[in-house]
């Protein structure tokens, strides 16, 4: 067997895609050790990337979900911090999760936090840049997002749930899980910072991030939407790198 065929077969076995052990190992049962090691190391990588999700579902469920996940979604990069891009979507349709749909939503938030953490660094937009904008050009401004900016909108209170789990013994009594929350994440310096956004502000930011001008972004927002306050909040947080029209 060629080395390439040998490695394809070995990989299929250790990842659980195939039950046919690799050929040629003198003690065939030893292949099971490699399978265990691969499963343990990839499960540990997912656990490191989705710590709150793991607590929410319990270690046993998480381990089973990880084993099913890794069979079809092996890492495509060797840095395990990146592993699990598809894990939130996988969890959303995993058995037994239908009654706990906030779980994949928290996973989506944890994934966004990792993406924010690992994004390329960039200078944030200095609010002073507005000084040079003529008043009649203001409505036509558009913004480039900081590489680390992530907007996570959910029908569940995922921010509260995540925050509660930053304590060793989470206090969940005050959490209204069915209250929708939107979070804006950004890493302007060393650490990821996040803010809860009001619903209208989340729609505003969502539009700006998809390339809309200020005028376009405020269409269909409630009359009492405070544009100046919202824009200033995003600027101070470092959500943008550049403005243009």
């Amino acid at each position: 067997m060629s080395l390439s065929a040998h490695q394809a077969r070995f990989a299929a076995y250790v990842s659980g895609q195939s039950e046919t052990p690799p050929l040629g190992l003198l003690e065939g049962a030893r292949a099971q050790i490699y399978r265990n090691n691969v499963r343990l190391s990839l499960t540990a990588a997912l656990a490191a990337n989705f710590p709150v999700t793991r607590v929410l579902v319990g270690e046993m469920y998480f381990g089973q979900a990880a084993r099913q996940f890794l069979r079809i979604h092996l890492p495509t990069r060797p840095d395990m911090a990146c592993y699990g891009e598809a894990f939130p979507a996988f969890l959303a349709s995993a058995p037994g999760i239908a009654d706990y749909l906030y779980v994949p939503e928290v996973a989506r938030l944890e994934r966004a936090m990792i993406e924010a953490l690992l994004a390329d660094p960039a200078e944030t937009l200095d609010p002073a840049a507005f000084a040079a904008v003529p008043p009649d050009a203001f409505a036509h401004l558009r913004f480039s997002a900081h590489p680390s900016t992530r907007l996570v909108q959910s029908v569940y209170a995922i921010g509260d749930l995540w925050q509660a789990h930053q304590h060793p013994v989470p206090d969940l009594t005050a959490i209204e899980i069915n209250a929708p929350q939107s979070l804006a994440l950004v890493r302007p310096q060393a650490t990821v910072e996040w803010r809860l956004l009001a619903a209208a502000d989340a729609r505003f930011l969502c539009a700006l991030l998809s390339g809309a001008s200020i005028a376009e972004a405020v269409e269909r927002l409630p009359d009492d939407f405070d544009l100046t306050q919202a824009l200033l909040g995003h600027l101070r947080a470092g959500v943008f790198t550049r403005l243009y029209s």
């Binding site: 490695q7 990989a11 490699y34 990839l42 890492p75 840095d79």
Partner: protein, 297 residues
């Protein structure tokens, strides 16, 4: 180039940019806080003698690839104070499909950022079909595998513009089709590529035990004189087999094997590897000190 003489280097001599008797420990996320505190305020809240004991720090390259991330920034700070060894686990030197150029470029960028004194990876593979298995998987020691690994090492050395070290693997079984002893296979790779040897004594012990061979006999065919670095680590027993967990102190038998190797080739930069269930930094320092004591009788 491989040095084939067995004359022990003098204690004050250099091996691959480090003092021959240098000792190091792995820099792991669990200790990032401790190390950051040391860099911010030398001596504060640190185990006594950290800088007196630790001559270099070794990192897993794959954990520090993202420029601007807290881990990467810490590494840059560390590299200004101490020599860094870039130990890769993801170059997959044994992959039949060749080297992942994208990953190699990122390792090259990291090497530019932290100017490591050593760069190494394993005689193993972890990548197939563009996917990574996050483990160091075994190779049959065949002529085809030899050609593959040699070509991959050539590619890595040429892209990085420098020589790397190749670490011997820990294995749990042999392949029927292997035509070479592990030591002879590695010696041939060193000869063909000019790379150096990272001799992992614990891996020797684990592999030999798991294949019912005396560890000293396992070492017999090894190009020991080409060792530019030595790794020491702990393993775990499981159903009569030894698993290379890096989750325990170096065991007495591995210390004895280390002493036997030192008696043959003299002191070599030695690293304590501890990757899981990490103890406090002070425990790692004691292990590093125990290695140094054996190099400076």
């Amino acid at each position: 180039m491989t040095d084939t003489t067995l004359a022990p280097p003098r204690p004050e001599s250099q091996v691959a940019g480090l003092a021959a008797h240098a000792v190091g420990i792995g820099l792991r996320a669990d200790h990032h806080g401790d190390i950051a505190a040391l860099l911010a305020e030398p001596g504060a809240a640190m185990p006594v003698g950290f800088l007196e004991i630790v001559d270099f720090l070794e990192i897993h390259a794959e954990n520090y690839l993202h420029a601007g991330s807290p881990a990467h920034s810490l590494l840059i700070d560390v590299a200004e104070r101490l020599p860094v060894s870039l130990h890769c686990v993801g170059l997959s030197l044994g992959s039949a499909e060749g080297v992942d150029e994208h990953h190699l470029s990122r390792v090259a960028a990291l090497a530019k950022d932290c100017a490591p004194v050593l760069i190494s990876d394993h005689l193993a593979w972890c990548r197939v079909g563009g996917c990574y298995l996050n483990d160091l998987l075994p190779l049959p020691y065949t002529s085809e595998a030899l050609e593959t690994v040699a070509a991959n090492i050539d590619r890595v050395q040429s892209r990085l513009g420098r020589r790397i070290l190749l670490e011997n693997p820990s294995t749990y079984g042999a392949f029927a089709e292997s035509a070479w002893d592990e030591g002879a296979f590695i010696a041939e790779l060193l000869k063909r590529t000019g790379c150096g040897l990272l001799l992992d004594i614990n891996n020797i012990y684990v592999s030999a035990h798991n294949q019912n061979v005396n560890p000293e006999a396992w070492l017999a065919g090894y190009p020991l004189a080409a060792a530019d670095e030595i790794h020491l680590a702990g393993h775990t027993q499981q159903n009569g087999l030894l698993i290379d967990t890096h989750a325990a102190p170096v065991c007495a038998a591995v210390w004895r094997l280390y002493e036997a190797v030192l008696a043959k080739i003299g002191p070599r930069p030695t690293l304590i590897e501890w990757d899981a269930e990490l103890p406090p930094l002070v425990t790692l320092l004691a292990e590093a000190q125990a290695a140094r004591t054996r190099m400076l009788p």
